[in-house]
């Protein structure tokens, strides 16, 4: 072993006897240290190397001493570590760094280097931190894996404090709300993130939490996303340890599609039920007039000789009426299916409603001689752009409806007036009225008030649904106002095409004794 720098230090720089003893002691300490110790001279020669350093370098001390560091590690001048060494060498400034070191045999290890300027050059203390680094890396990867799984979870995940402060929110949360950053989400007031009903429920939950009352850990909320759309979310809320403290992990799953499907399913079932109802009603409505036709035909055939002429005529008119009823029923069914399929064609042309209303009233008066069907006098009515036959059908239907649900002798008043760009037509009766809760359903298929109040009135319940379809096909609206026991007024509007003269009005109220038989 040649003289090391330390020997020189000991001999020349610090000749004190006690210090020599002491330095000898330190030198042995350095020699036996687990950490690598080396001294590099100003000319980059190894001046001192302890056993640990030699072992790490896979060389003997002799191989190292007397050689430069560049000889041992070709290319070392290019490394960041060497820059530090040089800096310390030239500027005499200590450094500390971590370095991944590649040994001549290709093996690698992480070292923490402490570089100190010493009189001979620089002193390097290297501590092998490969194990620590590996553990750190494992932890980092584990942490990253965990974060990745949170970040990219299809479920929205937030970590919130008991006060509701957001500590973490993943990407799915932002996607659900449509925000581009957590800051944007945080900036949005809580109230605006919920639908009003859902916000009220949220407040109730918060209140209960503050009071320490139990709150379900699984509930549903309805939120308003950035684009204003409402989404339905299922929520799980659970305590979790986060950064060493108890916080809450809140998991959101988007149920909007599911809810939508449920709604579609519900509507399908409803449709199915309606179809069933329609079928049984239709078959019942078909069978009744058919039974009349069949019954009286049988009677006419079987008892031909015993029936008087007037009796025969009566039976024939029963058959006639039943046939009309069947025809009407089939017409209604066809109209309804055409309306629903969008196949109903309107033959629109400028139409003078004054005449049409007058005829409708006159005809209705003939059909219901015991009612007073009145047409309110009106000023000139503008022409509407419509299909006269279909408007007539709507009028007949609404007037017949009024007659059906009001007592004989009462009035049915038809009025028409211009309201802005529309013609408003109304039919008011003094009948039984419609319960308030049923007003919206009146125009639904199959709605029949008589099912509860007037079981003796027949009909399939498509009439008003057809009226609604026809009025809307004209671009108008139809609605009803009613007071139970006082009567109902049906209104509908038709758009005015061109302002034109409409002659008048008319009033005809015929009273005639009823030939109506009723129990």
């Amino acid at each position: 072993m040649s003289k090391t720098g330390i020997d020189n230090i000991l001999e020349h720089k610090q000749p004190d006897e006690q210090l020599i003893v002491s330095d000898e002691h330190y030198r042995r300490t350095l020699d036996n240290m687990m950490e690598d110790c080396q001294i590099i001279g100003y000319d980059w020669h190894y001046v001192y190397v302890n056993d640990a350093a030699a072992n790490h370098a896979r060389r003997t001390k002799e191989e190292l001493l007397g050689h430069t560091i560049m000889e041992m590690y070709p290319g070392i001048e290019e490394t960041a570590m060497f820059a530090k060494l040089r800096h310390c060498m030239e500027k005499r400034i200590p450094h500390r760094m971590e370095n991944l070191f590649t040994f001549p045999d290709g093996s690698q290890g992480w070292f923490e280097l402490s570089i100190q300027p010493v009189p001979e050059g620089i002193f390097i203390l290297s501590i092998d931190i490969t194990e620590r680094k590996r553990a750190e890396e494992l932890l980092r990867v584990a942490e990253q894996n965990f974060r990745n799984s949170l970040d990219s979870s299809p479920l929205g995940i937030r970590i919130v404090t008991t006060e509701g402060k957001v500590l973490y929110a993943n990407q799915a949360i932002l996607d659900i709300y449509g925000y581009s950053s957590i800051e944007e989400l945080k900036a949005m007031p809580t109230k605006q993130r919920y639908t009003p009903e859902s916000y009220a429920e949220h407040q109730e939950r918060e209140k209960r939490r503050k009071l320490g009352k139990p709150v379900p850990s699984n509930y549903e909320i309805s939120i308003v996303s950035k684009d204003g759309k409402i989404r339905h979310l299922g929520v799980f809320r659970k305590e979790v340890i986060w950064d060493g403290k108890i916080q809450f992990q809140v998991i959101y799953y988007d149920m909007t599609e599911q809810k939508h499907l449920e709604q579609i399913m519900f509507e399908y079932e409803e449709l199915d039920r309606l179809k069933g109802d329609l079928l049984s009603t239709v078959s019942h409505e078909l069978r009744t007039p058919l039974a009349t036709i069949k019954g009286y035909s049988t009677m006419l055939l079987d008892y031909d000789r015993r029936l008087r002429r007037d009796e025969k005529r009566e039976h024939l008119s029963s058959i006639d009426r039943a046939t009309d009823r069947l025809t009407e029923l089939v017409d209604h069914l066809l109209d309804m299916s055409r309306l629903e399929a969008g196949l109903l064609k309107l033959e629109k042309r400028p139409t003078n409603l004054s005449n049409l209303l007058q005829e409708a009233v006159n005809d209705a008066q003939l059909r219901a001689p015991s009612h007073k069907i009145v047409l309110n006098p009106s000023k000139r009515l503008p022409r509407v752009n419509g299909d006269a036959r279909r408007i007539q059908q709507v009028m007949d239907n609404i007037i017949d409806n009024a007659i059906k649900y009001s007592k004989e002798g009462t009035e049915v008043v038809v009025s028409a007036q211009r309201v802005r760009h529309e013609l408003l037509i109304s039919v008011a009766d003094q009948g039984i009225g419609i319960p308030a809760e049923d007003l919206e359903m009146v125009f639904d298929r199959m709605y029949r008030i008589e099912q509860r109040l007037t079981p003796q009135v027949g009909g399939i319940g498509l009439g008003l649904a057809i009226c609604k379809g026809l009025v809307e096909a004209h671009g108008g609206h139809i609605w009803v106002e009613s007071k139970l026991g006082k009567g109902s007024t049906f209104y509908f509007t038709l758009p005015i095409k061109t302002p034109a003269e409409g002659q008048g009005h008319g009033k005809k109220a015929q009273d005639k004794d009823g030939s109506y038989h009723r129990g």
């Binding site: 069978r287 058919l290 008892y303 038989h517 009723r518």
Partner: protein
């Protein structure tokens, strides 16, 4: 009304005029004396006054339920022997069984055909004898 030899009286309790008229005419042609009622009260009054040989009863009636008429007639002394043919729009088996167990002589499903009505009436009246 009835001018036939047979003097059996049939009472029809039915609110639908068309059906009532038809049944009435048919049975008159068959030679029965026919009375009609359109509601429960009129029906019960006629049953007690006239004691008909047969009652044709619609189970769905205004002002009460056909079932109560059936129950009253069958439980009232002096009336319980009067046979009753019930009819309704419901073909449900449970309804039929219930009506028969309450003492109805027969159960017809509407709409009534001339043949089935004639036959049922004739059969019930012949059994009674």
């Amino acid at each position: 009304m009835a001018k036939k030899r047979k003097t059996k009286t049939v009472l029809i309790i039915e609110d639908e005029a068309d059906i009532r008229d038809f049944a009435c005419r048919l049975l008159e042609l068959e030679g029965y004396r026919v009375l009609q009622a359109a509601d429960v009260d009129t029906g019960m009054r006629l049953v007690r006054q006239v004691r008909p040989s047969l009652v044709l009863l619609d189970l769905r009636l205004p002002g009460g339920d056909g079932w109560t008429v059936l129950e009253q007639i069958k439980s009232e002394a002096g009336l319980s022997a009067i046979p009753i043919i019930v009819f309704t729009a419901s073909a449900r088996e449970s309804q039929r069984e219930r009506a028969l167990s309450m003492g109805a002589a027969d159960y017809l499903v509407k709409p009534l055909s001339a043949a089935s009505l004639k036959e049922a009436v004739a059969q019930v009246l012949s059994q009674k004898r």
